[in-house]
Amino acid sequence: MDPGSRRSLGFLPEVFAFDRFSTGRTLLRRFDALSGQGLHGREQRVEVALQAVDLESAAENRVGSYSKGMTQRIGLAQALLGDPEILILDEPMSGMDPSTRLAVRDILIGRRERGKTTLFSTHILTDVEAVADSVLILDRGRVVAEGALDTFGSEAVGSTIVFQDETADRFDSFLLEMAVKREPIAGSSGLQRIIVADPMAQDRILANLAGNGAHIVSVSRARPSLETVFLRVTSRGEVE
């Protein structure tokens, strides 16, 4: 791989270490120089990176004296130096306190809004839901699911039909025949929910409900939580 191709890349592995003898600021200056950046603007780039991870107050301390969370933050700061076009992070938020985690989320969301690419791996699925556009799930080294977050996993679950009928139980035998179940929506006046996996069955159910006087409120693609999809598509779900 041509080393020059890494000029626009920021990287933070899951397990990493930095020279313990350097201060945080010296470390960032060094990484800035190693990125091929000139002296011009170096101090500003370092300052921006330190501010982004809230480490200005500890910038003059040796990296060897940092706590785990601070080490994680200085690691992230070196990856963010110079706002690289592509940022690769492996478990970037492990070891961080909740407020720093939220700050890092904001940084990643900010990068997304500026059109910068961030590729990060994590086991904390709420972080993915908060930050990502696209998701890819790996299981034992194989890609088992991928797609845009908005519709991720909806194929696995199907559609949700919401209808209103005061005597909804009259549809039960038909719904049983279609292998689906009706769930009354709690707190509503006669609203019912049906989750349908098969698109063909969905059309027949809609026709039957509408033909028998039920009021169809909505038909939507259901997007399950990432956790649900993860358990569904990986072998961990089978174990559980």
């Binding site: 080393p3 020059g4 990493f16 003898f21 000139g38």
Partner: protein
């Protein structure tokens, strides 16, 4: 002029060396060793030296009296060579650097050059006072003596390249064992210590190793000015320089091909 990337790598290497307690302790030990040797040699020369032969006597006594210093330098060579890539790989500090637009060749050569300067500094600590004293007494410096000193310095440099090459391709512990094995085999090659099949085997293996110890009589003679032909010492210099470059190339190639990945 040095590029910003190379300068950053050099500064880092210097910081790494300066922060290492092993090196600091080793450096103090080396200085103490030289100080004691210097006092002993100076006293010996003052009491027994013939004033007309004092410059030659300084050179002979200086290098003979500090021959144990070779072992100190060798320990540095071993430590610096093997840990050049090994320490960074073990600590995981190498991945942050390699994620930047820094080639492995540049990283290796910069580390080697910094270690090389450290070794040369140690050699200067010994040779500087000895050569300086001899030159002061005689009022001039002999070219052959300087060539001899250069040849002497190139020995640890070649060994440093060998240990660095080993440390770049295999884990440190194995690099130490293989390197020490190579040094022992090279030392035994073509000697009369071994006989029969053992000697043949050692001699055969030594074809692939730099045979530095056999050249010491030539180097000593050049330093003391007891020879007048520069040909042999230039040959020794060329031999050691070629091995240095070859081993450096092997290190760069091996390191570039080594499969390195962060722990997960």
């Amino acid at each position: 002029m040095m590029s910003g990337v190379t300068a950053a790598l050099v500064r880092r290497e210097v910081g790494r060396l300066a922060s290492g307690r092993v090196l600091l302790a080793g450096g103090l030990f080396a200085l103490l060793f030289l100080l004691i040797a210097a006092i002993s040699i100076a006293a010996d020369l003052m009491l027994n030296g013939d004033p007309s032969e004092r410059a030659a006597a300084v050179l002979i006594a200086g290098y003979r009296g500090t021959s144990g210093y070779d072992a100190v330098v060798f320990m540095f060579v071993l430590y610096l060579g093997v840990s050049q890539v090994g320490a960074d790989t073990r600590a995981g500090t190498i991945f942050g650097i390699l994620a930047r637009p820094v080639s492995r060749a540049r990283l290796f050569v910069t580390g080697w050059a910094t270690s090389c300067l450290t070794i040369l500094l140690l050699e200067v600590l010994r040779s500087g006072p000895i050569m300086g004293c001899a030159a002061w007494i005689e009022g001039r410096v002999h070219l052959l003596s300087l060539l001899g000193v250069l040849a002497l310095w190139l020995g640890p440099v070649a060994m440093l390249s060998g240990f660095a090459a080993l440390g770049a391709v295999i884990p440190s512990a194995y690099a130490v064992l293989v390197g020490l094995g190579a040094v022992i085999i090279a030392g035994l090659a073509y000697s009369e210590v071994l006989g029969g099949f053992g000697a043949s085997l050692v001699n055969a293996v030594s074809w692939f190793l730099p045979l530095l110890s056999n050249q010491h009589p030539l180097i000593d003679a050049a330093i003391q000015g007891s020879v007048h032909d520069s040909g042999p010492i230039l040959e020794v210099i060329a031999y050691r320089a070629c091995w240095t470059l070859l081993l450096l190339f092997v290190g760069v190639y091996g390191f570039s091909r080594r499969d390195l990945a962060p722990r997960v």
